[in-house]
């Protein structure tokens, strides 16, 4: 789809916050990899729930509870369709990608990974796909193996493949890196792991708003993501797992809703997906996530991906014109993230200066300290794009960067 035919102005009109003024300037929101803004469809659906449909779910015979339960389960079905899972039983609602990874580590991991076993991740993981595995390794005596990347930020696939052996119990990799934008060759990764009968977990936190994801076509064993990066509410996320794996896994937390029967001698657990959903969930937020998915389906993930690819190309070309700017992460296959550093200007100064122009970017280590170490920088500045960003906004960003370079050198 050509840049001009993507209805970006119509989309922008659906996001009320984009009309905000920041420090008296129009907001240019380029921190989407940290969290996306929400369309009216999501905001309204949440307030509609609380105004008309709210009660606890799976618990009451009364009308409102039935209504809330239906909406909640309808949202699960929407998530299933969005990632093309085989069954809505495979869609587990959690707080976010972080909780999903911890869940997998503490249930699947504890049950299947023992001392001397190996877990393989990559050098570009977010802390949330490092620390839960380190904790599991500490608990079990398993070993964490890290596949390296090249200076472009691309996984060294051959090295990755050589790490797989008969001690490997799980591969856990980012579908797309939040610090670099790299999209990993997940089809190859999954095929290589499956050749050794090793299950693969994909951290889809970054990929999900940018790419059409089909978990059956990918044949991944687990796929996790957060609602808030998908134009949905914060506090809600998804763990997808293949049904056979989920059925064999012990539950995560104990409590209400996850049981079939409870007595003081022994309790039996509910079936999928409820086995992993102890306690009252974030009901309105699940329904809001369903609304975000409806909204995205109307626009079409393929159209979004094509538009964002053009935005990223444009931003990359513009950035390369700026003297003293170094792009961090130049993988051949990349999502809409532009991480960069400037000669002798710290990312925090870049962040504050751009903020004074109404431009929101992220400055910091992006919860990926090992990536910063690899590039020998304490932090980067990161502009991350969403479907509502425009070329004009990229121009504003680039002008801002050029002006701040001037200020630092001339004043």
């Amino acid at each position: 789809m050509a840049l001009t035919s993507f209805p970006v102005e119509l989309i922008r009109a659906d996001f009320p916050i984009l009309a905000e003024k920041i420090r008296n300037k129009p907001l240019v929101y380029l921190d989407n990899a940290a969290s996306c803004q929400k369309p009216n469809a999501v905001i309204d659906s949440i307030s509609h729930v609380y105004r008309h449909e709210y009660a606890n779910i799976h618990r009451g015979v009364h009308t409102l509870s039935v209504r809330a339960t239906d909406k909640f389960e309808a949202a699960r079905e929407k998530v299933r369709g969005f990632i093309n899972a085989a069954s809505s039983k495979e869609i587990i609602f959690v707080r976010g990608a972080t909780e999903a990874i911890n869940l997998i580590a503490q249930t699947y991991g504890k049950a299947n990974i023992k001392a001397g076993d190996e877990i393989v991740i990559t050098a570009m993981e977010h802390h949330s796909n490092i620390v839960p595995w380190q904790m599991l390794c500490e608990q079990t005596g398993a070993v964490l193996k890290v596949a390296s990347m090249n200076i472009q930020g691309e996984l060294l696939y051959n090295e990755f493949a050589s790490l797989l052996n008969n001690k490997t119990r799980l591969v856990a990799v980012a579908h797309m890196s939040n610090a670099l934008g790299t999209i990993n060759p997940v089809e190859l990764i999954i095929a290589a792991a499956h050749a050794h009968n090793i299950p693969v977990m994909l951290d889809g936190a970054q990929a999900i708003p940018h790419l059409a994801v089909d978990v059956q076509a990918l044949d991944c064993d687990f796929y996790v993501f957060s609602g808030h990066k998908l134009y949905g509410p914060s506090g809600i996320g998804v763990m997808y797992g293949k049904q056979a794996l989920l059925e064999a896994m012990p539950p995560y937390q104990g409590g209400g809703d996850m049981i079939k029967t409870v007595s003081f001698e022994k309790s039996t657990y509910a079936g999928l997906p409820h086995k992993f959903e102890a306690g009252t969930p974030s009901i309105a937020d699940v329904i809001g996530l369903g609304a975000a998915i409806d909204y995205l389906n109307e626009i079409g993930m393929a159209n979004i991906a094509a538009y964002e690819a053009e935005l990223l190309d444009y931003a990359t070309q513009q950035a390369k014109q700026i003297k003293g700017l170094r792009i961090i992460g130049e993988a051949g296959d990349k999502g809409a993230i532009l991480s960069f550093v400037l000669d002798r200007i710290h990312p925090h100064d870049i962040g504050t200066m751009l903020d004074s122009l109404g431009i929101a970017i992220r400055a910091g280590h992006h919860c990926a300290m090992p990536v910063m170490e690899f590039y020998g920088v304490p932090a980067t500045a990161r502009a991350s794009f969403a479907m509502y960003n425009t070329r004009q906004e990229i121009d504003v960003l680039m002008n801002g960067i050029e002006s701040l370079i001037d200020v630092f050198e001339l004043s």
């Binding site: 420090r23 710290h346 504050t352 122009l357 910091g364 920088v377 304490p378």
Partner: protein, 150 residues
């Protein structure tokens, strides 16, 4: 273009960022403490040479943003020839100035450091300015462990 930021990024700050003072190692330092701001990755090592309770030389190494670099650079200048008690008193005043806890700070009391008063309006940047001073505080208390702002 950056009119709004004049109070934060004053000329003195750019100057110290470009040409940090006392940016060197003191090989025979009596005190050496590392300071770290894990949120932004700012990292510095502070060196002090003491004569009794008097700071006779101060220097630093490390990397950080303009605010943190200017802050530590200015600090190494101002604490030279101060006693431990005087330096602690400056730390206290500086801290009050940058966190805005006290309305009537005597800006004269902090001398050149007054250029950092602007961070008060930028809560996200206060730690950039105070990292140097927390590190100094640890050095004066003769702590060896690295200082972290978190």
């Amino acid at each position: 273009m950056f009119e709004d930021l004049r109070d934060l990024y004053q000329e003195v700050i750019f100057d110290h960022n470009r040409n940090p003072r006392n940016f060197r190692v003191i090989a025979d330092a009596d005190r050496k403490v590392e300071g770290f701001n894990p949120l932004c990755g700012d990292r510095l090592t502070l060196y002090l040479k003491m004569d009794g309770d008097r700071i006779v030389d101060a220097s630093f190494q490390g990397s950080g943003c303009a605010i943190s670099t200017a802050s530590v650079s200015l600090m190494t200048e101002i604490i030279k020839d101060k006693t431990e008690a005087e330096a602690e008193a400056l730390f206290k005043t500086f801290h009050e100035m940058t966190t805005g806890k006290s309305e009537d700070i005597q800006l004269e009391a902090v001398g050149k450091l007054a250029v950092l008063a602007g961070v008060r309006e930028y809560p996200a940047r206060v730690k950039c300015a105070t990292l140097a001073w927390h590190t100094l505080d640890a050095a004066l208390k003769n702590q060896q462990q690295p200082v972290s702002t978190e």
